[in-house]
Symmetry: C2
Subunit: 320 residues, 2 copies
C-alpha cells in the first residue's frame, strides 16, 4: 500500500479528524486503527446515533457528504419531511440513507451486540479497510455546563448551535467506562500514534477521559503526534476556538500545545502559525510546520505523510 | 357531514377494508370508528410495524400509495437502498416517508405509550377525523401453519408471497388479549357495525379472536353488516380465495356467509354473485346485491352508502 512500516493508531472525532484519518487510510489501509470519540453519541427518535463514528466511517468509505461535513453524499430527506409532518423533532436532521446506519446499529445493539461489533459490521459492508474502534463499548456522554445548567451534548452542539458559553465540560460515565478491548490487539507492530485535528475538548478529551487511556497511549513507547485544529488563532470548523476562549485557554497553537502537554511528543502546526513554533517548543515537544488545511483530498494524504514522517523522525531521535 | 344518523363502527384490515373505511369516513367523519386488525404487526429492523393500521391511516389521510396498496404516495427508497448496501434484510420494503411512522411509533411504544395512544397521535398529525382503534393494545400475532411448520405472518405474507398452502391459522396471544378499552366509549349513539371486505381469516378473525369481542359486537343490538371480499369466486386482492380453498371452505359469497354466520345480520354481495343470493339468505342473513368493486374513489362512498342504507333497513325491520 505504501512505503510506511508498521501500524498506526489515530484518535479522531468529527470532520477534521475524519479527513486526516482518510489521508492516513490511503497510505496505510488496514494497518490503520482509528479510535473514535463516542462522547457525542445519543439516542434520537429511539435510535442510537454515533455522529463521530459515522463521520469517520462515511469519510473512509468515500460516501461522506462534502457539503455538510456529516451524513451521506446524495442524501434524500423524505423521512425528515414526514417526521415534521407527524409533529416530531426536526432540529437533528437524519437523512434517508444515513438513517439506515442508525436503524441497523440500534437493532444490533438492542440484540446485545457491542458498539464495536456493530461498527465492524457496518465498516465491512461499506468496504472500510482500517479498523474503526469506538473509544469504548460503554456509554460516555459529553455534558456541557452552561449558565442555564448542564446540557446534553447534542442540545448544545446542534439544537443550540453552540450559541451558549461553555462553563465546563463533563464526560458522564467516563469513570466507569473501559477502553475498547480491541485496542490492545492493535498494538503489535505499532509505529506511531496520531491525534487528529479534532476538537480537543469535545472529540479528543472524551477519549482521554477513559480510565487508563492516557497511560496506555504513553505506555506504547511510540511517538504521539498531534495536529493542531487551531490555525491562525481560529478553528477551521466547529466551536474549538470559541470553547478555548470561554474556558480561558489561549486561542492559538500554544493553547493546543499546553492542552496536550505531557501526552504528545510532537505538534504539527500550520504555516500560518510558524511564528509560534518556539512558543510551542517551550511546552516540551517537537514542532513541525506544514500546511494543515485539508481543502482537497490530496491535502489529506500530504498531511498524513507529514505526520508519519514527523513521528518517524521523533522515533529516530529517541533511539539515538 | 351527511344525512346519516348515529355512529358507526367498522372492522377493517388491509387495502379493501381501508377503501370502504374511507368511503364511510367521507359520509360520517368523526362519527366513524375503525377497529383495525393488528395481528400482522411485527418487529422489523427493531421497529414496530403495524401494516393494517398504517394502510387504513394513510388511506383515510389521503396519502396512501394507490399503486402498491401499502405505504405512502410519492415515496422514496433511499433508506432501503442503503439497508441493502449494509447487508440488511430487503424482503420487507420500508419507504423513507413510511419509515417516519414506524420510528415515531416505536419510540413512543418504547416510552410506555399504548398503541392506541400512538395511533391517535399519528392520526391527529395526519388530519384523520375518524377514530382509528387498534383491536387491542395487547400483542396478538397471526401465525400460519404450513407443511414446513408454523410461520410468522409476514414471513408467510410478504417473504414467501403467500406461496405455501395454509394448513391452519392461530392468533398467538389472543387468549390473553383485551378488547381496546376505547371501544366501549364509541358505543353511544351507535347505529350500525360494518365488517369491511377484508380477508376473513387474516384481517377480521384476529379481531374476533379477542375474548369477548363477538359478544360485545352482537351485544350492541345494532345491525352488523359485512361486505363480501370474494367477488365471482375470487378475491380482488390478496390470498383470501386461496386460503378459503386450502382450508376447505367454498370459495364464494356462500363461503363468506357461512364464515360470518351467527355474527352478521346482512351480507353485501357483488352483482356478479347475484345468482348466489338465495344460498346466502339460507345462512340466516339478509342479502344486498350491489357493486362492491371499489376501483375509483366514488365507488368507496357508494358502497359505504349501500352498507349504511342496508343496515338501516335491517334495523327498521327488527323494530317492526
Amino acid at each position: 500500500m505504501s512505503g510506511y512500516a508498521g501500524e498506526v493508531i489515530a484518535l479522531a472525532g468529527g470532520v477534521g479528524g475524519a479527513k486526516l484519518a482518510d489521508g492516513l487510510a490511503r497510505l496505510l489501509g488496514g494497518r490503520l486503527t482509528v479510535l473514535v470519540n463516542t462522547g457525542d453519541d445519543f439516542t434520537h427518535l429511539g435510535l442510537h446515533v454515533s455522529p463521530d463514528l459515522d463521520t469517520v466511517m462515511y469519510t473512509l468509505a468515500g460516501i461522506a457528504n462534502p457539503q455538510t461535513g456529516w451524513g451521506v453524499a446524495g442524501e434524500t430527506w423524505s423521512f425528515m419531511a414526514q417526521v415534521e409532518r407527524l409533529g416530531g423533532p426536526a432540529w437533528f436532521r437524519l437523512g434517508d440513507r444515513d438513517l439506515a446506519t442508525h436503524v441497523f446499529r440500534s437493532e444490533r445493539l438492542a440484540r446485545g451486540e457491542t458498539l464495536s461489533a456493530v461498527t465492524a459490521s457496518l465498516c465491512r459492508a461499506l468496504g472500510v479497510a482500517p479498523a474503526l474502534l469506538p473509544m469504548s463499548d460503554d456509554p460516555v456522554r459529553t455534558m456541557i455546563a452552561s449558565d442555564d445548567g448542564e446540557l446534553a451534548f447534542q442540545d448544545y452542539f446542534v439544537r443550540l448551535g453552540c450559541a451558549v458559553p461553555v462553563r465546563g465540560i463533563r464526560y458522564d460515565g467516563a469513570a466507569r467506562s473501559r477502553i475498547n478491548p480491541a485496542l490492545a490487539a492493535r498494538e503489535a507492530g505499532l509505529s506511531a500514534l496520531i491525534i487528529c485535528p479534532s476538537n480537543p475538548y469535545l472529540s479528543v478529551d472524551p477519549i482521554l477521559a477513559i480510565p487508563g487511556m492516557r497511560e496506555w497511549l504513553r505506555g506504547r513507547g511510540r511517538p504521539i503526534v498531534a495536529v493542531s485544529p487551531i490555525v491562525g488563532g481560529a478553528a477551521l470548523k466547529g466551536p474549538a476556538a470559541k470553547i478555548m476562549g470561554e474556558l480561558g485557554a489561549p486561542v492559538s497553537v500554544t493553547g493546543i500545545a499546553r492542552h496536550y502537554r505531557g501526552l504528545i511528543d510532537g505538534l504539527v502546526i500550520d504555516e500560518a502559525d510558524a511564528g509560534l513554533a518556539s512558543e510551542v517548543a517551550q511546552e516540551g515537544m517537537a514542532v513541525r510546520i506544514a500546511p494543515t488545511v485539508m481543502s482537497a483530498p490530496e491535502h489529506r494524504v500530504a498531511l498524513a505523510d507529514t505526520c508519519l514522517a514527523f513521528a518517524g523522525e521523533i522515533a529516530g531521535r529517541t533511539r539515538r
